[in-house]
């Protein structure tokens, strides 16, 4: 009986692998394309060790997700995803990668035991989420919803406090307000956060030179006696040359 079930299912699947072009639903084809790109690149982000490659795969994954947003009829959100996420946030992230990509930090390995535990927990979480996701009503009936009007106008009007969209069928909220208050809050939040980020990441004027510059500024000693004299001859403002690069980085 199990064999029969598997046989029936596999033939139904195999029959759909090579369908005639006319019955192909292009919405589904593009959905599968973007979904495979998004999930595959997200997996590649997890599996890659090199941080530069991780950033590249993340760009691909987020771009494919923008394609999914377009397919779901949320073209404004998809455009924002492309412009803010892929165009802004990831450029910021890539700059961070470039600023910190010294040779020992480009690829920091994780131990195999940690990877195994993380994979186990991730698999458990994925199982839970998949069960929840697959319990949702599966299919849209073909033709039940016609082409809808673009959502950018209602969304833009709602962001300034005016709702011009019709409430979904059966929704109790009729006289709903827009999103003016969240919009203002998030605007001020963004301003505060960006000012704070610029303050945090500013180039600091150091009272003492950085350890690397100190090392570079000291002439190579010619003799043992001069080498021994370097520490004593250091000016009062600057500390003696330290053996560790970790010291002396404070503001």
């Amino acid at each position: 009986m199990i064999g029969a079930a598997v046989a029936v299912a596999s033939t139904s699947c195999l029959g759909a692998v090579v369908p005639p072009l006319a019955v192909l639903d292009w919405h589904a084809v593009f959905f599968m394309l973007f979904a495979a790109a998004a999930c595959g690149c997200a997996l590649a982000v997890v599996l890659a060790d090199n941080v530069v490659r991780m950033a590249f795969y993340l760009v691909l994954s987020l771009g494919a997700t923008a394609g999914l947003f377009f397919l779901a009829g949320a073209e404004f959100v998809g455009a924002m995803q492309l412009m803010i996420y892929v165009g802004g946030t990831l450029v910021l992230l890539v700059f961070g990668v470039m600023l910190t990509a010294q040779a020992p930090f480009v690829s920091i390995k994780t131990s195999a035991g940690e990877k195994a535990v993380a994979g186990l927990l991730g698999g458990a979480l994925l199982t839970l989420l998949l069960v929840a996701a697959l319990s949702v009503e599966p299919w849209r009936r073909p033709g039940s919803v016609g082409p809808t009007e673009p959502s950018a106008t209602p969304l833009g009007m709602a962001l300034v406090g005016v709702r011009v969209d019709e409430p979904p069928a059966g929704s109790p909220a009729v006289g709903r307000s827009g999103y003016l208050l969240p919009f203002e809050i998030i605007s001020v939040h963004l301003l505060v956060v960006l000012v704070a980020a610029a303050y945090l990441a500013r180039a600091k004027r150091r009272k003492t030179p950085r350890p690397v510059e100190m090392v570079a500024s000291v002439e190579p000693p010619v003799s043992v006696a001069e080498h021994a004299a370097i520490g004593r001859e250091a000016p009062a403002g600057a500390p003696a040359r330290s053996g560790s690069v970790l010291v002396g980085g404070g503001s």
């Binding site: 959905f31 995803q81 996701a133």
Partner: protein
Amino acid sequence: MTAMIAPVAWVCPVFGLGPLGHPPGVSHYLVVGAILFVCGVVCMATKRNALGVLMGIELVLNGANVNFVAFASPWLQADGARSIGLDGQAIAVFVIVLAAAEAAVALAITLNFYNNHATVDVDRADDLKG
């Protein structure tokens, strides 16, 4: 018999074998969102590079966004199911903006840490360890 076929018929569309003749439903988007979310969580847990942890956070937020957009979409609902309408798209836009703000601050903190400690390994950030 049908009870045994049903799970297999469920799995086949998810892995892309069967559904090319049907439009995708909201559960397909939820599956994509779940995979992105789990990838982000695992990335946050295993990466030792601070920027890798940041990328995991971006993936998690993106997975949540996929769910919001799917529930808000007028295209994906079965008959009788309720879409949350414009709310989902508005929340998705807010999440994108918040992710941008979070990335800016986290990157500033990471650069500061790198300036002070000459490393981006999060395992080395143990100054507060007792």
